[in-house]
Structure formats: C-alpha cells, structure tokens
Symmetry: C4
Subunit: 388 residues, 4 copies
C-alpha cells in the first residue's frame, strides 16, 4: 500500500521523480486546465453556448470528476512527501489541505457540487471556474517567482506606490476643482476625477473623460508628465526584479551542477560561479536527437545524467556522465558531422560556442586539456571532420 501511495505521489506531484507516466500526467492536466479555460470563455458567447450546451456540460462534469480524483489522490499521497512536511496521517494531511496550492485545487471543483444543491448565479460561477487557470501555478513556477520579486522588491515598490497614490489623489483633487463646473457629469466628484486620473497616469487614455477648460488642460498636461515618470517606476522595478529572479533560480540550480563536471574540477569557486552563469540546463528523453549531422556547431554539451550514443561512421560510441561532446565542431569551425542521440533520460549543461571560445581564451589550462582530448578523439577516429 505505501508503495502504491508512493508511486501515486510521484505521478501527481509535479517536480517529483520524473518518469514517463508522471510527465504524461502533467501534460494531460495542463491540457485539461487550458481546455477548461477555453471552454469557460467560449461558453459566454451566446451563439456558441446554445449550440454546444450538451457538450459543455459533459465536459464540465468530466473535468470536475478528474479534478476531484486528482485532489483526493493528492491528499491521500501527500504523506509521502520526501521533505517529510506532511508526514503525519491526520495533521499532516490537514496541513497540506490548507496549503495555497491545495486550496486552489479545491476551489477548482467545489463550486460545481454547491451549484447542484444551491441555486447560484451562473455567471458568478463561471468567473469562479476561470480560477482553474491558477492550477497552472503548480507547473510554471512563474507565480512563485513573481511572489519572490514582490517580497524582495517590496521596499522600492511600496515607496513607488505611495508616491503614485499621492500623485493620483492630489492631481484628481485639483482636476475636480478645475473641471467640476465645466463638466459636472465627468468631474463631479473626486472619485470621478480619479477615473480620469488613472486612465491618464497609466497612459491608457480611453478618451471617455477629457479636461476641456484651458487651465484643466494645462494642469493635465504638465502634472501628467511628472506622473508618467512615477507610474513607470513600479513597472521598471518589477521588470528588472523579475528578470533577475528568473536568472537567479536558474543560476542556483546550475551552480550546484557545474562543480560536478570533471573538466572544471580544478577551478576555484569564483571561476565556477562565472562559468555557471554561461551554462544552461537542457534535458532529453530516451531516443531524442541531441545533435543532428549538418546543424550549426553552436554549442557544447556536458553530460550530467544519462548516456548518449555518438553515431560515428566506424560504429556508435557511448559517452556518459562527466563527459562532454560537441567541442570539435567549435574548435575547427565546422558544422556537426555526426548525430548524437540520448540513450536514456539525459540532463546536459549546454555552453554556447562563443562562450566556450572566450572561456578557453581566459583559462589556458582548460584550453590545453580540451585540445588534448580533441586530439585523442580525432586520432581515435582517424578523420578529424568525421568527429562530433
């Protein structure tokens, strides 16, 4: 039983051990979520709603069934979490049930059951069903990243928002004072003026409300200019924070892996940091082609996990963990001359050709080592051009 439960945990939990089955489950769930969103959106178009009503209902029942079973399996198997956070059969499961992701899962199907018993506004229900898009959080990591950005940049963000709100309130107050008599319907109160203020300061500029007095236009034009700069602040802070955060997540993962590459074993921690920034992670399923003969020689691959088969003319050669391939084309500036295929599930660190060249230039000892291996490989094969 625990073995089955453990197996279920691995399948339903994204990020757990990667198997074909768990990957398939992830893809199925993502597809189902996206289809749900499309269906909810389409359903609101009356002409479609009428025509496909039966299909829409059937799909809804199917989705709710799947989401319910998925939720049940998650609650049942969460005690298998290898980080042992939910290990207790009762309190552990309760703790899991109130975690944000589990609550989102629950909200995805619970309203349906309510609607069966209670008479709820259908439109309200539809908006609720749109929340299913949040189930994607589990797979993309984007929202988690965004949360980190908000946390880390909270000080400048808060400062910027304070300034924005002050400008909005003051500017709207002034415009209310200036335009009220000329346009009592559009600037009749400060909240009305704030609607204009938001549309203007965000540069949306619907044009449904526009100052018409000369003084109103002057204040509008000049204060707005100042405001625009202020309203660009949070966007800029978020944007730079977001890009940094995404790169940093990658970086931390990569750094831990670079130290395992034998070629880099003699480098210092700081040099490893530098190289880690240049490398990116790539995976391949068994049978996937990593390098195709005739392609551009644009990168070098370090094998972290798994084995690859190099299709030399003299017969296939197997490379495995710790070895690298793809360097000959870069060193001798020729397109790929062999095809390399993954034999098992593989993970690679990939280095761009330009970065590889710079790296060799900066580390003469690396250069020497790489050239020595290249010489062996060419000799072993007999014809330089026929190597990787």
């Amino acid at each position: 039983m625990p073995m089955i439960r453990n197996r279920v945990f691995e399948i339903v939990e994204a990020g757990a051990k990667e198997t074909l089955l768990s990957r398939g489950f992830d893809i199925f769930m993502m597809g189902l979520i996206l289809t749900n969103v499309v269906v909810v959106v389409t359903e609101t178009v009356e002409s479609h709603a009428a025509r496909y009503e039966a299909f829409f209902y059937a799909f809804e029942v199917f989705s709710v069934a799947v989401f319910t079973v998925e939720y049940g399996l998650r609650i049942w198997s969460c005690v298998e979490d290898p980080r042992r956070r939910y290990i207790h059969p009762v309190t552990g499961r309760l703790k899991y049930a109130v975690s944000p992701l589990a609550v989102i899962d629950l909200l995805a199907f619970l309203p349906f059951y309510f609607s069966v018993f209670i008479d709820v506004d259908l439109r309200f229900l539809r908006v609720f069903r749109l929340l299913r898009i949040l189930k994607l959080t589990r797979y993309s990591g984007a929202i988690e990243t965004l949360g980190n950005v908000f946390r880390k940049e909270s000080k400048p963000l808060f400062a910027a928002i304070t300034i924005m709100m002050s400008i909005l309130v003051l500017l709207s107050g002034v415009m209310f004072f200036l335009e009220k008599d000329a346009q009592p319907e559009a600037f009749g109160s400060i909240p009305h003026a704030m609607w204009w203020g938001m549309a203007t300061l965000t540069t949306v500029g619907y044009g449904d409300v526009v100052p018409i007095t000369t003084l109103g236009k002057m204040v509008g034009a000049f204060v707005t200019l100042l405001g625009l700069g202020m309203f660009a602040l949070p966007a800029a802070i978020l944007a730079s924070g977001f890009a940094q955060e995404v790169k940093r997540r990658d970086f931390t993962v990569t750094w831990n892996l670079v130290a395992r590459v034998p070629l880099f074993s003699r480098l210092t921690a700081i040099e490893i940091s530098e190289i880690a920034e240049l490398l990116r992670l790539q995976t391949a399923m068994p049978g996937e082609t990593v390098i195709r003969k005739g392609d551009k020689e644009d990168s070098l691959f370090f094998i972290l996990v798994g084995q690859v088969e190099v299709g030399l003319d003299s017969g296939p050669v197997v490379l495995e963990r710790g070895e690298y391939f793809g360097e000959l084309g870069i060193l001798y500036k020729k397109p790929r001359m062999v095809t390399v295929t993954a034999k098992s599930s593989c993970q690679f660190l990939v280095l761009d050709a330009e970065d590889f060249n710079l790296l060799l230039a900066q580390h003469p000892d690396l250069h020497e080592e790489v050239m020595r291996v290249a010489a062996q490989r060419i000799e072993g094969e007999g014809i330089a051009g026929e190597n990787v």
Copy 2:
C-alpha cells in the same frame, strides 16, 4: 519637565527611539491621515455628502484637533532633537517651524480655522485638505528618496527634458501649420496643438484631437515615433535611479551592521561589502514567531539586537546578539524543525538560503566555522533533525 518633553519627542517623532507607545502613535497618525483622504474624496460625491454630513463635520473637527495638538507637541518638543539642530528655545523652534515637514503639518489644519472666520470656496478648501496626504512623507521616506533621485540624476533628467520640450514645441508648431485649416477648432493655435502633442508623445492618446489631413497623419506618425523614444528617457532615468537609491539606502544601513556580526569578523572590508548586499534587515516585536516549525528552510538569521528563544524538545534555549540560527535546515536541506520566538524587540540580518550556500562555497573558512558550530549544536541536542 524636560524629561516629559523628551518622552513626548520620542513619541511624536517618527524614527526616534522605537517604543510600543511611539509605534502605536505612528500607526494611529497614519490611519488618521489615510482616513482623512478617504473622507475628503468621499465627501465630493454628492449623494454621500448629504447623507453623512454631520459625521463628516465631526470627523473634520476631530482631525483638526488632533493635528493641532500634534503640531503643538512637535513645536514644543523639537528642542529635544538629539542631533541638536533646534536646541535654542526660540530660534531653534522657529527654525523647526519653517522646515518643510512642519509647514506641511501646519497646512493640514490652518485652513480650517480660516474657514471659520472667512468665507472660503468650499471646493478649494477640500483640495487643500487633500494635502494632508503629504503628512505621510514623514513615515514613508519615499518622497525623500525621490528627492535624492532628482538631485543625483538632475543632469540626464534636465538634458532629457530639454529635448522633450524642444520636440513638443517643434512638433506642435508643424502640426499647427498642417492641420489649422482642416480643424480650426482643434489645431487653431500652437497651444491647442501642444495639447494634442502631449497626449500623443506621452502615449496617453485620448483621441479627442486627432490629425485628419494626410500630411498631418504622416508627420504625426513618424515624428511621434521619434518622440516616444525621447519621452521614455526621463521615465527610464527616474526608474533606474529610484531603484538604485532605495537599495543604496538599505545597503548603507546594512553595511554598518554586518561588521558587527562575529562570524564575519575575519573578512576584509570588500568581502563585507559583498555580503552586505545579500543581507536584508528584519525586525520582530517581543513574542513574535520568527521561524515556525515545518516552514521552508529558506533563510538564516543573525541577531543584531535582542534575544530569541529556540523551542527545542529538551527545553527552550536562548540565543542573543551576535549569534545566528536557522543554518541547520539549510545545511541538511530539511524544513524547520523548531519554532523560534523573539523574547524582546529584535533586529535580524537575514540571508537567503541560496546566498548562504554560495557564500560558503566562496569562503572555505566560513564553511568550516559554520560546520563546526553546526556539529556542536547537533551533538548538544542529540538528534540532528530536531535542531533549528
């Protein structure tokens, strides 16, 4: 008497010695200011104005009373300023009274007294009352930061604004020339054309004024494109300057604190600079939970001020200034196994788990020291997993 005055100073002055009373006062004032803004904004909506008139008036009287007393206390106690800027009983107080923050305080209630005696336009008064939002300046620091940004980036900002104004004037002149005959009411003068120019160059684009001649559209489209780039300049300059300035303020504060952490005592000034960038400041009130059992092991805490209680199974252990906690979870990659509570008002320097790992990788001696302490802690406790 001076002792009471000193006590009052500590309470009314944000940023002075942090006590429960002074923090409570700050929160009360911020709440009152925000409520005032909401009330002024709401009051302009006629339907509300009539219904809640009595309440609005009572609230206004109450606010003015509080602001008046606050102003009096500030003027009275400003001589206690520890930086001794306003030490003289008469000239010192006068000097304080003309400082920007004191003027804002005065403007917050003075118009009310005027309105009692003189007959002032009510709407004008309302806009004045909105200025109370500027009293928040004292608490947020955002406007001070913004001022620094304007000062530091004044050269590029001035250059950018010169270019923007030149483009606006020239473009409006050309559009006036091209569109005047076709739309005498919208482009009848250069100031009229400038209203279009501002709406276009800031990308607000209300659409109330649009060129209609072919030549006007062509010039509009092409010159606008150039102008857009120019109008993005000040926003970009402000945004990057603002983010830098906020981080720099943090940094300077942090730097001075890092040198006090015993673990970092053997590092050079440059290494301290590097670490200071990674740390952030965090405070806790007495009784606050700093780490909760079962949470993610995402950070390490250095105690700068105060004491914390570690809730070990074998009984509580107290850590104090100079010590750190939260490292075991990171080292052994396990969630928090104990709860840590602040015993007194605490200040911490917080280091993210990823940064901690990088730091250890780059400083082998730090790594050794941290591992030595960790070993002691585990041994002392007996069960590794049951430590912090």
Copy 3:
C-alpha cells in the same frame, strides 16, 4: 564552370567575400525589396492604383523576374557554400531549398505565377507580396538576433506570458460579470471583455469599450494598475536581452580581432576582453577618407585589413595591417592635422579618445609604448602638430 558558379555564389550570397560587385548586388536587391514594399502599399490607395496601373504591373513583372533569376542562381550556386553544408548536387540543393531564407525567396515570386493561371483574390495576393520585406532578413541580421533573444530569454518570457494571460483571463471574467448587464453589447461575453482587457492592459486604450458601472471602474482601475506592471515585463525582458545580444555579437567578432593587434600582444586574455568592449569595427572602401584634416581628434584607428595613406606635408606615408594612427591628436589634444585615406578595402578597430586615455592610465606599459612610437613619428616628421 565551377569557377563561374563560385563567382556567382560570392555575388548573390550576403556575407560571402566582400567585393564591389557583391556589394552593388546587395544594395540593388535591398533597394528593389524596399521599392516593392512601397509599391504594394501605394497600390492599395485607389486614386493611385488607377493612375499608375500600367507602371505597377510592369514593375511587378520586373521584380518577379529578378527574384526568380536570383532564386535560380542561389539554388544553382549554393553547393559552393564554403561551410560545405549543401555540397551534394541534389540533396544539398534540396536541403538549401527548404532552409527558411530560401523559402522566403520562393514565396516572394511564386504567388505571381499562380495568379496567372488561377483566379486569386487580389487583396490576399497583395498581403502575400508584402512578405517580400522578409527578404531583408538576409541583410540585416536583426531577425536572427531577435530569434536568439527569444531563445535565450525563453524562460522569463514564458513565465511573464503565463502571468499576463492569467491576468487577462481573470480580469476579463470579472469585468464580464460586472459590466454585462450595463453594456450587453460591449461586455456580452468573455471574449468581448478580453478585447477591452487587451486594449487596457497594453495601455493602448482605444476608448471604444469602457466600463461604466462604478464597480467596473474601480476593478478596472485597480486591477489594471497591477496588470500594467505585468505587461511591462516581457517588453523589458526583450529590450534588455536584445541590447545585450546585439552588443555580444559585436563583442565576439571584436574579441577575435583585438588579439591580432600587435600593440595589445602583451596583454592577458582578461585585459583583451576589457579592451574589446571599448573597440568598435569600422570599414572603409578604397579612396574613402578616414580622417579629415581639422576634424575633432575623437578616436584612434587600428588597421586590421588593408592599407591607408597618411597625407603628410613631406609626402604620403603608407600604414598597413597591425599599425595604428590618430593617436597624436589625442595625446597632444589637437584637432586632426592630416587627412588619412584608405588605399584598399580596409577594416579598422576604432577606440574613442576618452577610452584611449583611460586605457593608457590603467596600463603604464601601453602608455610607454604609445609614447615611444609617438616620439618617433614626431621626430620623423619634424613638426609635432603636423602629424596625425
């Protein structure tokens, strides 16, 4: 025959060996492509279409003829590619024919032949002819750069787009719920609401659809503010990635060239990296003036390829590969005193005066070497001011 084919290859293939003929061909093709775009655009204006119909048709026939011949020549000569990617007479040519650039070339003229036999919607055809603008890809490299940016920044971009789409869907759902009854024609379905959502979140703000209920305006204003920050993310990611990528392409090219400059031969790889960032590549056709007497002394030139003639009063002096000129003006802060002309096709690395000064300050040995050469040059010429 292969020699003619090789010659043709060099002419039609941008980026192959640069000769006057191949450069002329490139300019002719770019001009033809741009003229085509202008013609297609103009043709849709009815008044013009009628008047110039005959000319437009003739031009179309001419363009199609040129594009057809060009395509034929490319297919015929692609086997000469020095990277030997398409070396096989049949399969190599087929492989070339399915490469993206070749497909674009084919699409540029094929629809014309179809339209002769089949009756196609003329307007549809015109849009197809606009695709000819993609033929510029071959010459600008911009789209290739953009492709690289999308590939490298794919993770943050994908994360940002996930967030944007979620916000769009949820926001549109809420607005549909709030505005449906008030404006059944504008917010009658979620897809309708999404049209408003896109116009608002991208800050385009047409104003054709605007919320009118109080709640709709409030949600619109506040959620929009959040959305704006999110919609700025991909733009910011693309912009910074694009600028980096363009600079990086330059950098990689430059780096390889700096190592060849004799003056820098004693520098380490890291120092070369630093200098490479400061240099930019410049070319000159035979007879072109590189430095004009009396100009500002704003840069220093290293000759990578070709020869230049320095017009000294004592007669012309020839400098060639590996030598540099233009340093005397910078060292002695005087405007150019001689004119330097390219004798052959030249490539230079250009260093700005300010960077040159900083470089000398940071590398005393370089400074010494440069001063030694300067002294020789002045002595050789007799009058310091009359040198380059």
Copy 4:
C-alpha cells in the same frame, strides 16, 4: 583690436573662459530664446494676437536685432578659437559659418529679413521662428549627447527599427485585408491601415480607427502584443544609452580631476577610476555659501580651483586648491557647525557621506590619513564640535 576680439570671443562663446560677463551673456541669451518661443506660441492664439500685436512686433524686431548682432560677433571673433580650428581670417570664418551651430544662428533671424521684402505665408514663418529653440543646443549639450547615443547605439537601433517597420507593414497589410470590407473608409488602403498600426503599436491608441470584425480584433490583439514588445526596444536602447552617455561625459571630466587631489595621490589608476565614479563636480561663484551652519553633514568637498573661507569662531581660515573640508561632521556624525564661503570662483569635487564612509572602510591608509588631519584640525581649534 585682437584683444577686444578675444574678449568678445570669451563672452559670446559658451564654454569659453567663465567670467561674470560671459555668464550674464549666456543667461540673457537663454532667457531671450525661451521668451521668443513663448511669444511665437502665444502669438498663434488669436485673442492674444490681436491685443498684443504691437508688442509682439516690437519684441520680434528686438530679438532679430540681438540675434543679428550676436551672429556678427560670433563670425568676427571665431578666429580666436583656442583650438585654432577657424584661425584663417577668410576660410576659417567660412568654415565656422557652415558649422551646424552657426547655421542654426543664421536661420534664427534670416527669415525675418526675407519676410520684409518677400510676401511669405505668416504661419510658415512662425514655425521657422520656433527653430530658435535649437539655439539652446549651444548651452545644454543635451542634443550633442543624444547624437552620440544615436551613433553608438546605431546597430541595435537600426536592427530594432527594421523589425518595427516590418511588423508595421505586415500587420497593416493583414488588417487591410481583414477590415477593408467592414470599414472601407478607415481601412480602405494599407496607408490607412498603417495609421491605425502606428497608433496601436506605439500604444497611443487614439481610438479614431478601431477594428470591428471578430478576426480583425483577434489579429489586432495578439499581433499587437508582440508588436508592443518590439516598439519598446528602441525606447529602451535609447534610454539606457542616454543615461550611460551622460554619466560617461561626467566621468571622463571627473577622472582627470581626481588624479590632482593630493589625498588620492597614492592610489592606483583603477582605484582612482572607482572613486571618480562616486564624485561629482560642483561650482560656486565668489561669495556663495558652500556649507551652511546647521545643515546636514551629507558631503565632503575637495577644492579643485579657488579658495574658500571657513568661518571658525576663532576667526576665518582660508583653504585652497588640493585641500578638503566637511569631513569632521561625517566622521563624528554631527550637523555642520561652521559656514564655508567661496572667496573666489571655485570648483569642487563632492563626495557623499555614505560613499566617504565606504571609501574609508575599503582603504585603511586613506582612513588613517583622514583621521590624522581631523585630529590636527580639532586640536588647532580646541573644540571638536565647532569645526567643519
């Protein structure tokens, strides 16, 4: 005569030797130019035009007279240029006359003389008079900076513009195809569709032209999103380039000055580079107050040019070139205790308090030297708090 001519040159030429007279002349000219722009703009408002006609004409005559005399003096005195670019009495002056700044000067008054003899369209003339704003170029340096940015960033800018134009043309073609039948007046030709395309892609979004077909809205929404990212590229490239360029101009000037400060004489070139980034240039006229007693101790001053008087209680002390002041307040964290006044025209390098503290932390030898001087100063004065 040449002495008078030289004196005139110094007065009329911005950036030449700074005297009170030349500074006054600059301020007068800038004021006159700005007033001219205001007048031209105001004149187009019919109500004003009638009322102030006589004044406007008198002002125009006066301005033209001043601009003519100024132009004459510039042409006459340009031979005095210390860089000896225009030294020849005839060809030198001709060369100066065709330089961009001289052409702008000529265009500022020449049309007036033409209008006296020839009958020119008055509105056209007005637009020409607006060009006088370009005369500010001589004083602000902003346009020169912008020119440098365009030159340096020309590659990414050109690439971005190629992409933008391709997107605009293709998108407009598609929208023309989709919307032509539904809105023949708004999307009747590709140029018409391009007007929509520009308004949308720049996010101006007037709303005068909007797609109304479902397919048109879908293509509009999705392609627009892509386009927005592309249209942000040039703005971002310009903005970052502009900020860098402005800082770099400052930096180059500063770097050359830092080396002259005795305190920094023992630093290496790289350390000087680091410090140069932190310093900014500040000037003071004779009699100006540099530090006012009681101000915040926010910066340290190095004297580059001129003398200052320190108003100690024991009588004034004079500091001059190479010395620094303002460090005691920072070291002992007290507000300014003395007032420092410029005795002559002064130039300072200013270092912020935070940067000064960091600098001392990173350079123990500097710290020692600064503390030694501080000790002497305090001893000399007797009371620590009463020093600078």
